[in-house]
């Protein structure tokens, strides 16, 4: 339960911060992992899942409203089938989010040495 709430809060924070810069999806999982003192694996997972959730939601919402007009074209630019492209797009965001969380969790080691 706690983890689900963490994921949702991380996703929401990332969404708000993304209005300013796309790389907020790194910064937010990073900060969450630092503040909550995650271990490496968990940091990655929370970041990955949060951003996967956020990007899936945003992408699906936009894509349905657009009736796939643009995503089909961009998929073509990348030479990918439409559905594969959508998965890759979400995966890329999730991966970056995960890396953010992982990096944040690694910071724990510094604090550990200080304490």
């Amino acid at each position: 339960m706690k983890n689900i709430i963490t994921v949702i809060v991380t996703a929401l924070l990332a969404w708000v911060a993304s209005q300013y810069a796309w790389w907020a999806i790194v910064v937010i999982p990073f900060l969450v992992a630092v503040v909550l003192k995650f271990k490496g694996g968990k940091g990655f997972l929370i970041g990955f899942v949060s951003i996967a959730l956020l990007w899936s939601y945003l992408i699906l919402k936009t894509d349905l409203a657009n009736e796939h007009i643009l995503s089909a074209k961009i998929a073509g630019v990348f030479g990918l089938p439409h559905i594969v492209f959508l998965i890759v797009n979400v995966f890329l965001g999730a991966l970056i989010g995960g890396l953010g969380g992982w990096s944040g969790a690694a910071m724990r080691k510094i604090f550990k040495s200080n304490s």
């Binding site: 790389w23 007009i69 643009l70 073509g76 970056i96 992982w102 080691k109």
Partner: protein
């Protein structure tokens, strides 16, 4: 060690993010691009987007309302010129910003910043031919006139108002893909865009090829490359009486007037075939007793489309038609009283001179040194660097080619170019006045300002008048002046006086009851001034023959004519081709059997059209290649298709073993046909509408349409009817139109390629013109913009 372990992931992540945040080579910044908040997803427009909006524009003098119809055509209602053109600028930018930016850059050669060094040669060429110079000259004249100055300033303010409201998220998709930003709009951009059109339509360089061919062919040259095709049906009908000229045609000067070209052994194939059709039918020939005007300019087929439909309305103007994103006003259209359109008038207004260079600062004229005027052109490159080119201006215009920038045919001497587009001119004033014209006299007064590119202006009004003008600024030339490269070391070859525009060839309400133009020869030989040009005849033959036999003409009949795919070339040459190959081995070939029953229609699905096209073109090439064997290495430039057809079917035995060449070329053509998966004509010619970035997913290819450059429906590979318009000049004009594209330039909008389907089928939209006296009907207004001052 612990610190390293702690920091390492952060360092790795930072590097990855950094890499995803910037373009690498031609790959865009992927992180930025794929971000669902501000990346390309922000351009994925909701298909039920509500375009209703309220704006506050402090620049406005008064409130303005904009009504959009269901096709997203805006109808701008303002109370004064400034507000009207401010909104037109804002709307153009709102829907078409990227194309305005890119086309301006293409005009001025400011493309290396985006495309890298590979575009440098193109960029230098644009500068050297004086595109920016010419635009500056014209801008001065446009800004000296209070009406066009207001229009330009207001338009610019509107465009910039939109640009300044944007953040990355709102940028047109192409900026995100190509990694650049919109730049501030300036009045010079409009001037550049108009020069770009002028260059596109007067740009062909045949003077060099002609000079070479005349030298090697001697007397045969005039026979193969006549100034006029005898059977031409000119723009201004035969028998039209011309007033006596107010200035006399000069005599050909004595002495050394031609350049002695030193050519290297390169060749270049020049693509022909930009063309257009227009015609007007007088009330005496129409069913409803109103004049009907038609126009379909053939230009490059691109997305976003060249044109943007709009209606402009104030107390002094109420015009509807297509506008050019980047320029204020309506270029082709109609108003409450009259309608107009144009086709390119191919009279030659671009001439070349060899320059005798004395040293880096001087050239020779009449045995005396003359100083070059030097113009430094700075071209911005990718990564902040600059390329500096110094262009030398002579009395004959800028030196376009020299040792630093080689002429593609390999001309060794410096070549200067004299072009009407360098002259200060105000075509925008012509547009401004045309939009407001009420009658024939005002129409004539308006188009008098149209200097370059010269156009055949068609006219009709609600009173039933029709007219056609071959309008542009021309020089009173001696015979053959500018047809060949001239010797620039003598002042005898200088351009002389300008022909008064009132003496341009024109016809008003001719007895025949119709007028038409399709890029053919402008006049018969009784026109009192000399001109040469690059004219084509096939479409004109078809149109004139069709109109000549039409009575009780309706809008539908004329729409049918715009769709016509009958090949006059095939009609002229195919029977002779077939009779030559009788009793040869190919007579019983299945393709030949098909051709025997063919109706000369270049229909989309026709296989005979494919066979004929490939056979004739292989034959055409073979026969001239053999005939010009001696010059093959130097130039690929053959007599026109019209002249070739005339010689081929005529008595003239210009070639000994035509039969053998026909059989051989048929075999070659049949070989390539048999390797085709689908022999349907549309598959072979592949009419395509490419996005300006050439990205295939944004483009439409292999469109199911018939026709070719020499049929009325001139659907070529990347050229075709860029706007089809038919206007019946009833008391309230009834208009129909379609263009290959959509109002929105955004590939993520449902309004992006909306009209292409109808366009390819040859169907039309009813244009919802809101007349002065009436309020719009409810179904005419789907969205509204309220713009408050």
């Amino acid at each position: 060690m612990r610190i390293v372990k702690a920091i390492l992931p952060l360092v790795c992540t930072t590097i990855i993010v950094w890499l995803l945040n910037k373009p690498i080579g031609s790959i865009p910044a992927l992180g930025k691009l794929l971000d669902p908040v501000s990346g390309f997803w922000a351009n994925a427009e909701c298909t039920d987007k509500d375009f209703n909006s309220t704006f506050e524009f402090v620049e406005l003098n008064d409130d303005v309302s904009v009504w959009f119809d269901e096709r997203l055509v805006p109808h701008i209602n303002a109370t004064n010129d400034y507000d009207l053109y401010f909104l037109q600028g804002y709307l153009h930018a709102y829907f078409r910003l990227f194309q305005m930016d890119l086309q301006t850059r293409a005009a001025s050669g400011d493309v290396c910043e985006l495309l890298g060094d590979k575009a440098l040669n193109y960029a230098r060429g644009q500068r050297r031919k004086g595109m920016v110079y010419g635009a500056e000259q014209s801008l001065q004249k446009m800004e000296a006139n209070p009406n066009t100055k207001t229009a330009l300033d207001a338009y610019k303010d509107g465009v910039n108002k939109y640009i300044n409201s944007l953040v990355f998220k709102d940028y047109p998709l192409e900026y995100k893909l190509m990694g650049f930003e919109p730049s501030e709009w300036k009045n010079i951009n409009t001037a550049l865009l108009l020069k770009y059109m002028a260059d596109d339509l007067t740009g062909k360089v045949d003077d060099i090829s002609y000079s070479y061919l005349r030298k090697v062919l001697g007397e045969e040259f005039e026979f193969l490359f006549p100034d006029r095709i005898n059977a031409s049906t000119p723009v201004i009908p035969r028998g039209t009486k011309y007033d006596a000229p107010t200035i006399e045609q000069p005599l050909v000067p004595e002495g050394d007037i031609w350049a002695d070209l030193q050519l290297a052994n390169t060749n270049e194939n020049i693509e022909k075939g930009k063309g257009s059709n227009n015609w007007a039918v007088a009330p005496q020939r129409t069913k409803n007793g109103h004049a009907i005007l038609c126009n379909d300019p053939h230009l490059s087929l691109n997305l976003p489309a060249l044109w943007f439909e709009v209606q402009l309305h104030t107390n002094s103007v109420n015009a509807y038609g297509v506008s050019l994103p980047g320029a204020p006003g309506i270029i082709i259209g109609f108003n409450d009283s009259l309608s107009w359109g144009f086709t390119n008038n191919y009279r030659d207004v671009k001439d070349y001179y060899t320059i005798k260079e004395l040293d880096n600062d001087n050239y020779e004229l009449d045995g005396k040194p003359m100083k070059y005027q030097k113009r430094v052109e700075v071209i911005k490159l990718k990564g902040g660097k600059e390329f500096v080119d110094t262009v030398k201006y002579t009395i004959h215009g800028p030196v376009m080619y020299d040792a630093n920038y080689k002429e593609p045919h390999g001309v060794q001497q410096p070549l200067a170019m004299k072009w009407m587009g360098h002259k200060p001119s105000n075509e925008l004033l012509a547009v401004y006045k045309l939009n407001r014209a009420d009658n024939y006299d005002e129409f004539v007064d308006a188009i008098g300002n149209f200097t370059c590119p010269a156009q055949n202006f068609i006219f009709s009004d609600t009173k039933g008048n029709i007219a056609l003008w071959g309008q542009g600024q021309y020089i009173n030339k001696w015979k053959d002046q500018g047809r060949f490269v001239m010797n620039g070391a003598t002042s005898k070859t200088l351009w002389g006086a300008e022909i008064p525009v009132r003496e341009n060839p024109h016809a008003l309400n001719p007895e025949q009851g119709y007028l038409s133009s399709a890029n053919q020869t402008v006049t018969d030989s009784t026109y009192p001034y000399y001109y040469n040009g690059d004219f084509v005849e096939f479409r004109a033959w078809r149109i004139n023959k069709a109109l000549d036999s039409m009575y009780y003409v309706t809008v539908k009949d004329l729409q049918q004519l715009q769709r016509d795919v009958h090949s006059v070339l095939a009609e002229q040459v195919l029977p002779t081709m077939l009779s030559y190959i009788k009793t040869t081995e190919i007579e019983t070939h299945e393709y030949i059997k098909e051709l025997n029953g063919w109706d000369y229609k270049m229909d989309a699905g026709s296989r005979s059209a494919t066979t004929f096209h490939l056979w004739w073109n292989t034959f055409y090439k073979e026969i001239w290649e053999e005939g010009f064997g001696f010059a093959k290495e130097k130039i690929v430039f053959y007599p026109s298709q019209e002249r070739t057809a005339e010689l081929f079917v005529g008595d003239s035995v210009f070639y000994q073993h035509v039969q053998d060449v026909l059989v051989l070329s048929f075999k070659n053509a049949a070989d390539s046909i048999s390797s085709l998966e689908n022999r349907a004509w549309y598959k072979v010619k592949n009419t395509s509408i490419n996005h300006l970035t050439k990205l295939a997913p944004f483009s439409y290819t292999s469109i199911n349409v018939g026709g070719w450059g020499n049929t009325v429906n001139a659907m070529k590979g990347n050229h075709g009817p860029s706007w089809r318009m038919v206007v019946e000049m009833a008391d309230e004009p009834q208009a129909y139109g379609v263009y290959p594209g959509g109002q929105s330039g955004n590939p993520g909008s449902k309004y992006y390629g909306t009209f292409i389907d109808k366009w390819s089928k040859g169907e039309y939209y009813n244009l919802s013109f809101i007349s002065n006296s009436s309020q719009p009907k409810e179904e005419q207004v789907v969205f509204k913009w309220k713009c408050k001052k």
